[in-house]
Symmetry: D2
Subunit: 310 residues, 4 copies
């Protein structure tokens, strides 16, 4: 399936981003650690990459920011390559139906997190990666640099450290899972790895490039490198569709209609399988913890381009 050449992405996105800059922003920048709270709330970037390598960039699209939970998709991708389907014995594929950091479900479900994109699930994925990788932090970074063909990607150690200091709730999750036998490695090592992953920094442009393989059956369409099998690529997209926006997954599906993943840094990546990947960045978050303007832009975009997958 080829992207539809007749749609003038440039014009549509110009209009939407211009409109969106006008509207009042709502919500607050994530502030549980100072490093996230200090970000300029007016930052605003969009980057669209089609599978035939057309690129459309707006605003602060080349400025790096903390991708936070968006990195969970990359962690899942690598864990699937290394561990295969056995991974699903330790983490589910169902939406959580509650806020992203709820311990309630984890307890009722005996330490098996609902899906790999809630914090508890991502911690299990990190535990799996540590069991497979010799130098987990280094190896994961290499994997990410490789699929994005970008040696410039890096963790932000300052953010990772800050998260660690404020990470009592994540410590609660991982201790609870350990009590159920669903964490194999040392808790502090897993937490350290997790906080580093969340501290990855990318620009909208880099995000759109990095995630393009999910729009193209697991193959980077520009280099033809097979990142992951077609079947697993589809499954990662399916999980993003159902679980990528915490307890606002339904709203995002309803309004945007694409698989996607958000982070508390204000970034969102969304995928149209067979067509494109698109990354947006705007730091103010709605009550559910997702970028307010980011969701607005993507909703307008899929409506105007009629490119919801539904």
């Amino acid at each position: 399936m080829k992207p539809d050449k007749l749609i003038d992405y440039q014009q549509i996105l110009s209009k939407i981003t211009a409109d969106c800059r006008q509207i009042d922003d709502i919500g607050n920048v994530a502030s549980y650690i100072p490093e996230l709270g200090n970000i300029d709330p007016n930052k605003f970037g969009v980057h669209l990459t089609t599978i035939d390598n057309q690129n459309f960039s707006f605003g602060d699209s080349t400025e790096k920011f903390s991708i936070q939970s968006i990195s969970k998709v990359l962690a899942l991708t690598l864990a699937l390559k290394l561990e295969g389907g056995n991974l699903w014995r330790r983490v589910g594929v169902e939406p959580s139906g509650t806020a992203f950091n709820s311990l309630v479900q984890l307890e009722y479900e005996h330490g098996i997190p609902r899906n790999p994109f809630i914090n508890a699930g991502a911690l299990v994925i990190c535990d799996i990666l540590i069991s497979h990788l010799k130098k987990p932090k280094y190896d994961f970074l290499e994997f990410t640099r490789n699929i994005s063909e970008n040696p410039n990607l890096n963790y932000c150690s300052r953010i990772a450290e800050s998260e660690k200091l404020a990470g009592f709730r994540n410590a609660a999750h991982i201790n609870l899972m350990k009590s159920y036998g669903n964490i194999n490695n040392d808790i502090n090592i897993v937490l350290d790895f997790y906080f580093n992953l969340c501290s990855l920094e990318m620009s909208c442009q880099e995000l759109a490039h990095t995630f393009l393989f999910l729009a193209s059956n697991g193959i980077n369409p520009i280099t033809n490198q097979q990142i992951i099998s077609s079947r697993r690529s589809k499954r990662i997209n399916a999980i993003m569709q159902l679980c990528g926006f915490y307890d606002e997954a339904g709203e995002f599906s309803f309004k945007v209609g694409l698989p996607g993943k958000s982070g508390v840094g204000g970034g969102i990546i969304a995928i149209h399988p067979g067509k494109y990947s698109i990354a947006v960045w705007s730091p103010k978050l709605n009550k559910k913890g997702n970028s307010y303007k980011g969701m607005k832009i993507l909703g307008s975009f899929t409506t105007k381009t009629r490119s919801s997958i539904f």
Copy 2:
């Protein structure tokens, strides 16, 4: 977007259905009312209709069965036409994350059901329809006959009556919502309407035809009748994707990768927007209340035809 002519649906489905008949069936026929429990557990039908009106039929595909919760999609469609977006003030679009009949969430969320496909949400939709329709049961049937171009569709009053006698849990739901002010009409009238809707009987062939408009931007592609706007058609699909299989929505998305809706009668309808609708029927249900073989077939089908939407 046109369906892919190169895929030999006939051959692929022949092979899958033949294979599927061989495998041991798992689970039990729904038995909470005798009328559902008496069904032959070996019934097995498949019907695929493409948007250019190719049809592929297997097994008991022309035998009518109780479509049960699948009718909730039709009820939502009509309610959206009559009430419009205001409807979303009274019912959400998020997956429930728990079993289909849980009162817990309804209480925590003050009488607003998570989505229109859990029982509580469907009861609110019925309440909305009653407020709009002069003769609700008759009018809804006419609507369904009209979109399916099939005057032969009917409720099964015997099943509706039986459900009513066993419907204490639905009575609990509706009374709880009434206590929160989210039911406007008389409780018994809403329950009666709801049980009639669930008693609708269709064959796989009829289901695939009836739901084809959701594969074609809200337009029945054979008659060119606009059933609902393109935008709303996409949104109904999005809700099916996230909420159509109760607490197995993730599993269905992961394995099948299509928006779909199941019923405890053993039927499933699934949609590939832009390509086809497919209905399957096999009465034995897995632990989550969805047709065991039905899910198997659809999983094989989208894998072999590479037609997951993801």
Copy 3:
């Protein structure tokens, strides 16, 4: 054990009630039905009866009011006489730990209410009474008149009718329990009986007299009539201690230190086994639904008389 003659109840209660009239009242009169909302919020009565029949009366202590949930203790007493220990197969003895009308627990615990004093539990008790009594409403009233030696007690049909019209949440409870097989009689008959029980009217004086048997090992110490066995009398007190104040049972035990039961009409009955029964009435309710001044008075009383049972 004899009541302590040296304590000057008259003087202590005079002081406490005088003080209590001075303090600002907090909260609101129950208003979910007009009949309860219309009560004068400044009504205020206290009556203490010792097991050697000393009586101390203050304020509006002879004015009848709607005893509401206090009647659940009498219903339990009669049910224990008729059904015996088998009753505990259908209702528990544990505190609910949540608000008095929560459906959550009932669902998790498969239709067995936590205790006989939450609404769901009282509905099961009513179901049991209906199975035993020929003319349930008449027979229960006779039982109450008998133990209180007071032919003047009556239901208030106006209140019973109003409760029925607003009773959707109770209907939700009973339907849910029926779905689990824990209600044997017709739902509407049980609800009607329950609402009548709650509509019983008594004054503080009448309440203190009626409940005196629980201060005296099940025997009315004035008539020497054995209402219930000593063992069961103790168990009813134990359940009151743990479950008599919904999710404020701990607070009442902590501050007052007596078994007791409150009603949304603003009444409270409390028992000191071996010493006295005391009834208070003040209609304004705190956030947990218990009389604000009623709890204040009883707390001061047991502190000043050092008569907490602990």
Copy 4:
């Protein structure tokens, strides 16, 4: 109030303990750490001390065992002396209504534990003690030795260490509370102190002596030392009554009718205010985690001596 001299405690307890040895024991010794699992399941001791210092001893009543959660009562006593009523801002007095280690409630209630006897509540109490004490472990031990007039009391470091290694769930609790700001000290220091407290070892005889002050308005009746005020002594008893047996508090109140506290080591202490303290020990635990035979003995004892407080 003086203990009833006419009751022949010696004869009654002889009969009950002899009977109880005959009955089949039920349940299992706590086994989450080897040190607890290795205990002889047939150990069986009873010691009763009246407030006029009569003593009645049966079986292994002078053998020390791990008192585990019983120590939470002593921790609360000391914390009330040091912190006073401010303590109740950080921990509640309501029964939890769920299993003793549930994180669910803690999350819904924003890090404020229901009461000081669930693990989370005891961890808050430990945090408070650490804020007040110079050498927390040493000072607490001195306090306990002092009120029991027994320099022979000690922690068991082997058990404390084992608990720490298996204490992931407690780590989950304390991290969750820290995320809500309800823990002031370093998590590892609080956990270490907590596990030491739980490792305290006492015999039935020592337990009965140590807790006698709660039967006597806060005063050790033998030494006349005031351990805590009368008012606080009553409140500690009230909390034990409502919260001392996790989600079996109602059952214990119903069957035994005394304030009491159990530990997973198989010990139970129970108090009759104004009369006696009684300690029992039998390691096999019922499904709720309380000593099976211990509850049996106490139920028979209060029935035969008619000494339920209700």
